[in-house]
Amino acid sequence: MSNNSVLFDTPGPKAAARHRIYTVLAVVVLLGLLAVAVMRLADNNQFEGRKWEPFVSPVYIERFLVDGVLETLKMAVAAIILAVIFGALFGIGKLSEHRPLRWFSWLVVEFWRAVPVLLAMVLVFYVWGIDRGDTGAFWSVVVALMLYNGAVLAEVFRAGINAVPKGQVEAAYALGMRKTAVMMQIQLPQAVKIMLPALISQMVVALKDTSLGYAVAAPGLTNVAKLTYNSPSNGQNIIPTVLVTAGLYIVMNLILTWIATWVQKKFVGEKRIDVAAAAAGQD
């Protein structure tokens, strides 16, 4: 209640009574919607045993966790590690004193930020991955995610480095350090600390986008889901499959978000760069 007091006063007796009526109405409407949804599902046999059986039988659970969650996490982790390297290189490149290097970095970052991940994924897949089976599809997803998330992270790096107080750099130069040493020993370590939460939120984006591997038949959760709802013995259980798969993604992402908040509190404190502004267009 307290954080909302900007918009309205603490309700008096009349307003409180009115709010109670609205609350009851809201509850009725929301429960009604839920009931309609459940009835719709039941009417169309969506609670049928064989439709849900895949999600309780040990063989399928193992498949969802090993072929699904594990492969998805592998793709996301590989993509984010490469994206951090890509982002660091081009983020620092954008701050370079050499004009051609600065412009080149700017061009690369702007281009990959504006190109949809799916386009990049299909290109990498057709040019390089198509005759390499699962490995090809896996790395097509990883490379496409690296290019996009790397471009976003380049902006985060740049913002992070700029957020380090100017005096630090001047002090370092005054001690006689060279440009590279100032960047590597003074600016970058502090910038990384400021950026940690932004990095982790970008992992959520990367993790969600691994699902696009669907388009190139890459391994991972979406692929397991596709096999499950396409299998005739499961009685066209696309709705249960989508609900369960989405649930798995939500759990993974909530854990990541929770880690980001914890890291923020533990290591960073109040100082935080504006992720929304730095990572324009993240989804």
């Binding site: 719709r40 504006a114 799916l118 990049a120 299909v122 969600k208 709802y229 989804d283």
Partner: protein, 231 residues
């Protein structure tokens, strides 16, 4: 670039679908997102909780899952999206706003609305406390405070994050191509299948058009932001 030029009509149709998806889902998500943001900051506890749940569930779900649900899932519940069936014949080919298109527009709107709601909420938080207090002091009720004082200012402060959300939406329309709307990504995929030798130039052509769309949009948003900036 011969291949690209020869197929310019198919590309044009593809990008027409892309832009239509963007415009319709953009407006839809703006409306729905505003309602959810209002629920989120309103005085009714139940609605606040409902809005929080909506935002955190949808934000953490991949868009593909949402579109799979709307495109293939809901028709299994007899929720068909065939109430829209518009075919606009042009000299370059048909523009089809059919059941697949409608399902994807609704899915995209629902997905994007969660991000719109967050953007608007950050805009509402940017409105100084005194403004709301002054609005209440002159006797405006909650609706009046929102309509006359908070939302107009919040929308201005919201332009930059909202522009980011909608740029993401332009790129997200490609996911609709993966489930069957004949938009840019879909056209590109069939072209790269048909002209194996020219894959890279086809990609560069499509990528550059996306770059132009995104840059034009962010330029416009930037101008709007400067003109509307709260003093």
């Amino acid at each position: 670039m011969d291949v690209v030029w020869e197929n310019r009509e198919a590309i044009l149709i593809g990008f027409t679908h892309t832009v239509l998806l963007f415009l319709i889902a953009g407006i839809g998500s703006l409306l729905l997102g505003t309602v959810i943001a209002a629920m989120r900051v309103g005085p009714i506890g139940v609605l606040r909780v409902a809005a929080v749940i909506y935002v955190s569930l949808v934000r953490n779900t991949p868009l593909l899952m949402v579109l799979l649900l709307f495109r293939y899932g809901l028709p299994k519940l007899n929720i068909k999206f065939d109430f829209v069936d518009i075919v606009v014949p042009t000299t370059a080919g048909d523009i089809r706003l059919n059941n697949i298109f409608t399902a994807c527009v609704i899915g995209l709107s629902i997905y994007t609305a969660a991000f719109v709601a967050e953007a608007i909420r950050s805009g509402i938080n940017a409105v100084p406390l005194g403004q709301a207090e002054a609005a209440r002091a002159i006797g405006l009720p909650f609706g009046g405070v929102m309509r006359e004082v908070i939302l107009p200012q919040a929308f201005r402060a919201t332009v930059p994050p909202l522009a980011s959300v909608q740029i993401a939406l332009i790129k997200n329309t490609t996911v609709a191509g993966a489930v069957g709307v004949v938009e840019a990504f879909n056209v590109m995929r069939s072209m790269t299948n048909n002209y194996a030798g020219s894959r890279i130039e086809i990609f560069i052509a499509f990528a550059l058009i996306f770059v132009v769309l995104v840059e034009v949009y962010s330029f416009a948003a930037h101008r709007l932001e400067r003109r509307w900036r709260i003093a």
